[in-house]
Symmetry: C2
Subunit: 300 residues, 2 copies
């Protein structure tokens, strides 16, 4: 791994900053964020920051995008202050956010027109795992593009799954993944609220359920936090509820575009939207239990 | 374990017959079913059969009920040919079906009036596991009632979880369990159908999903069978789809009675009802994928 390899990290938010910090352990990193406070944090972490995205991206071997949605993706590349014109031919763009197939496929086509490859690389794992290079990344990209992105991907991922050769394939798998995660978290909420309402001990019920056919990764992971959602302090926010407003929106939009009915995903989306509407957007996603059951019925 | 302990098994269907056969390895078993064909099968398996349920139950230490729903439960005990009058005081009734809290709590009260205990013992595991004594049983019953039922429970269960002291507690846990199982199977169907519609390889997608945060017991267990639902022969029927029509009905009824919104469970119930309406009731429950996607879009 050579420090001659330079990568611009555009977006130094909750995920972008720890990824930049991790990448700086082996590569030359250029950072940019529209928020001055995030730039200051990055500088404190030893990341070299630049006054504009274009300046950070100019002459970099790779550009990693950690943006919020498809609109930001298009804007950072092709908007008024977009970086596309500054990218050097042969550069590679790594798209790490979950924004859906269409948005990524569209920018991939436009980038190909200027000789720039796109690696569709949506990831899972929170900020802590990002900083430790312990992310799960699903990749859709040509072998050539993947080779160009390899120094960065190897530093960030503990598990790298190549889904297909097309940008968009990674987003497709991530979309299916989020359908299950979003439904499973909301199902765990309904189940634990029902246990409570039926007079069962929710913690004991959770343990019994997780040892059998009702088990899911999310029941084990979010279930205990859902029960903490009733505590005065709530659960620690490991992943915000409004991320699932975004992601379930991507899921139901993708399903609609291929004319596939997904009533469970649609119901889960509504639960997260209800949560956001009730002011729970910045809470841990396990707080969705408070949408179906605002208060516990049995003593904690 | 004493062969002086006698148990009547009422209902010799898909689960009742293998349970009776298993119980006969250690206990004296009396069998009865309303269907003559099932009585013949039981006789072939060496079970002593009786012309009426009351005759089978008379003087037995225990009566195991493997019935279809709450109506059958009430009928077999207190209906026109009901066994309640034939039960000897001090006998114990084991209720092994999933019929919901209210139905079991109601008959428990009536049985208590004639000195008979009820052990609420809904179970999980198919016919094969029933025959091998490898069932998962969740129990709601007083310690005294549990002690009376112990010789039978020990022969049937590899995992026995005592949920509480009230008949109905077992049904409550099973209800919550079925909420998750029913939602997870339907979510796996939506996810795999979406993967297929987005052009991903569903089998490869399934493997990738099951190694991460999207994992569930049901995704791993029913996912491969859901993909077989498109084969000419379909998947082997390990658990019929219309069992989830019954069980999700119990879930949504229970939730409604405690005024708990469960939109995911309700959506899943509708998917199983749609499957039944489309003639898939006798198929494996994983065939629910054909409700959202009648045909595969990518070649198998």
């Amino acid at each position: 791994m050579s420090t001659n390899y330079s990568i611009a990290v555009l977006g130094l938010g909750a995920m972008g900053l720890p990824m930049a910090t991790r990448l700086a352990t082996g590569l030359t990193v250029h950072g940019f964020d529209i928020a001055a406070a995030r730039m200051d944090l990055a500088a404190d972490a030893g990341i070299k920051t630049f006054p504009t995205a274009a300046a950070a991206a100019a002459d970099a071997d790779a550009v990693l995008l950690a943006v919020r949605n498809g609109e930001q993706l298009a804007d950072v590349l092709f908007g008024e202050a977009g970086i596309a014109a500054s990218l050097r031919p042969g550069a590679v763009v790594l798209m790490t956010s979950t924004v859906g197939v269409a948005a990524v496929a569209d920018v991939a086509t436009r980038l190909a027109g200027i000789g720039v490859d796109l690696v569709d690389a949506p990831l899972s794992g929170g900020p802590v795992r990002a900083g430790e290079g312990d992310l799960l990344i699903v990749v859709g990209a040509t072998p050539e593009a993947r080779a160009k992105a390899a120094p960065a991907l190897e530093l960030l991922a503990s598990t790298l799954t190549v889904v297909g050769d097309k940008p968009g394939d990674g987003q497709a798998l991530k979309t299916v993944n989020q359908l299950l995660c979003g439904v499973h978290i909301a199902a765990a909420a309904e189940a634990l609220a029902l246990a409570d309402a039926l007079g069962l001990d929710p913690a004991g019920t959770l343990e019994a359920l997780q040892s059998g056919a009702a088990a899911s990764f999310m029941l084990g992971n979010r279930g205990p936090r859902a029960l903490q959602a009733y505590d005065d302090d709530g659960a620690d926010v490991l992943s915000r509820l409004d991320i699932f407003v975004k992601d379930m929106g991507i899921v139901t939009k993708a399903a609609r575009e291929v004319a596939l009915p997904t009533p469970l995903a649609a119901a889960a989306e509504q639960l997260y939207l209800l949560g956001q509407a009730q002011g729970l957007g910045a809470e841990d996603d396990s707080a969705v239990i408070r949408v179906v059951a605002p208060t516990r019925r049995t003593p904690a």
